[in-house]
Symmetry: C2
Subunit: 354 residues, 2 copies
Amino acid sequence: MDPHATPRRLAILAEGEFRPHSGKTARGVIRYGRDVIVAVIDSTRAPGNVSDDMGEAYDIPIVASLDEALRRRPDTLLIGIAPTGGRLPEAWRLAILHAIDQGLDVHSGLHTMLGDDPEFAAAARARGVVIVDFRRAPDRTETAVGRRHLPGKKVILTVGTDCAIGKMSVALELTRAAQAAGLAGVFVPTGQTGMMIAGWGVAVDRVISDFLNGTCEWLVEQGEALGDWVFVEGQGSLDHPAYSSVTLGLIHGTTPHAMVMVHRVGLEQHDFEHLPDASFPLQPLPEFIRLHEQVARLVAPSLVAAVALNTSTLGEAQARRVIAETADLTGLPTDDPYRFGGERLMDALRARLS
Amino acid sequence: MDPHATPRRLAILAEGEFRPHSGKTARGVIRYGRDVIVAVIDSTRAPGNVSDDMGEAYDIPIVASLDEALRRRPDTLLIGIAPTGGRLPEAWRLAILHAIDQGLDVHSGLHTMLGDDPEFAAAARARGVVIVDFRRAPDRTETAVGRRHLPGKKVILTVGTDCAIGKMSVALELTRAAQAAGLAGVFVPTGQTGMMIAGWGVAVDRVISDFLNGTCEWLVEQGEALGDWVFVEGQGSLDHPAYSSVTLGLIHGTTPHAMVMVHRVGLEQHDFEHLPDASFPLQPLPEFIRLHEQVARLVAPSLVAAVALNTSTLGEAQARRVIAETADLTGLPTDDPYRFGGERLMDALRARLS
């Protein structure tokens, strides 16, 4: 992949998923990506406009079908959701084949590698289009080597209390804030949506476990070559029954100078759809923060330097009150960078890491 | 694989590696496996006998070449070392092709999948022999579901202060001790050597990260179907720069009732060959034990119930003294089960978990 490629014209397939607090790939690419979004396909929301949810800046039609989207001349169909387990819903097969037939490239973040599907591969070859599977692991298979950061570089990893609460967005907002402050901020993508946004990276959850820490270490090396303030997208959470090992691979592989703890206000337990009777309650924030520092220190000293709250369920006054309360509770600079911008937390990071 | 398969006649290729504290696959299969070992191939040790290192019970010739080993009528060539990164040393290619040509199956724990090598695959097909890659990940790709243990089952995971210090052996010794006490003890292999010994399992370091916790959870489910006292082979260490994520996947995926902390006496830092200047010191044992309990508890309560020391560098009197000192230091039952048998620690586990 090429971080400097020309912008594309994307149609985003988000069928049945383009709702608030859902469709995080679609929303991430729309908000942070460099490509032109010609349409979002979700028949359950069509006709509509992305600006209804995401604000006036996003005047993008929501259409009911690929055929409607095609009228707006996309060059790429982006698979805009990532179901649990990452498999391709069978109903989408015809739509994807139709897109290929119409000359579109296909970009996918599913676990299922569309490029390995004989039918898709043959169709793409015949039509001369490209299928990009963002989740395909790199051929590189190296364990971590204990690399040290280059002098002058600052590496910040977003960690969190659960999946899908905004770790990628916080890293992106902090990158923006660093750049706005005249610093060489760089975002390091570790998941398929981040890769679609930045045009490079590795979906680390797809890497063979033996090479996970090593791949995270290597991603930071790439990031340091691109800038000075390196913001690594976190994954999962250290207490997640299914994904904690990916989180630890990031903590020990990236050896961040600082971590930013991301939390969604009101979240009290992991949403474990498989086992509705099981209870996996979240840890109290101060203890959870302290444990992150203890665990990180096993490989390299680090600290949680700020808290980023996701206050999307609250009105603004209430959000500001909860932010102040959380700052009191944790003793750490706290804000909602997605909502209010990353400047305050970026200032706190500069003060803490200088 | 089949845990109930007929014993094989193995020639173990351990070229240049069959030294004390090295060749752990060869030593593990010799000590714990159910197969007949006809010879160990290591020209740097030949002519010799395994009993020189491992004691009288192991009267197995060390020979200089595959041809010498073939005179003892093996049916299988087992690749008996696992180099860092897991790749096949080029010098072994000819020996493996020769073994195939002589009608031997090939069993390998390398990261490199020998069965996917066109030359090996064609040769095996032509000769009608089988190549088994123990590190091949299962097709199953499921994230953890938050499974609870069955009533009456006890799950014990070995954890440790470093790689390659005896976590597998401790799990095997405890399994033996449980069985000797009339309990239904079962060993759950999570690495290639354990799989070669027990005839089933998954090399979890080869599993895609997203499915690591889920695979560990599933292995315990298999173990519970085979017995009541389920001893899971640990991997890596929670503070290892390269492998910590695999360790956490085991802790959170198996949700053990108890952990046994394995430590090699005198070990003070991780042996990090890539970066001789880097220092990754081990944690003090009591703090490290406490941290394991804290981290485990993020998903399910657990405790470190015993310490298993590797005292192989000490004389017996000194070993017994260090064991007593470690018991004092940690407040936990301590022994060297590899050297003195697993009975004492097994008794302690029964007392603690009943």
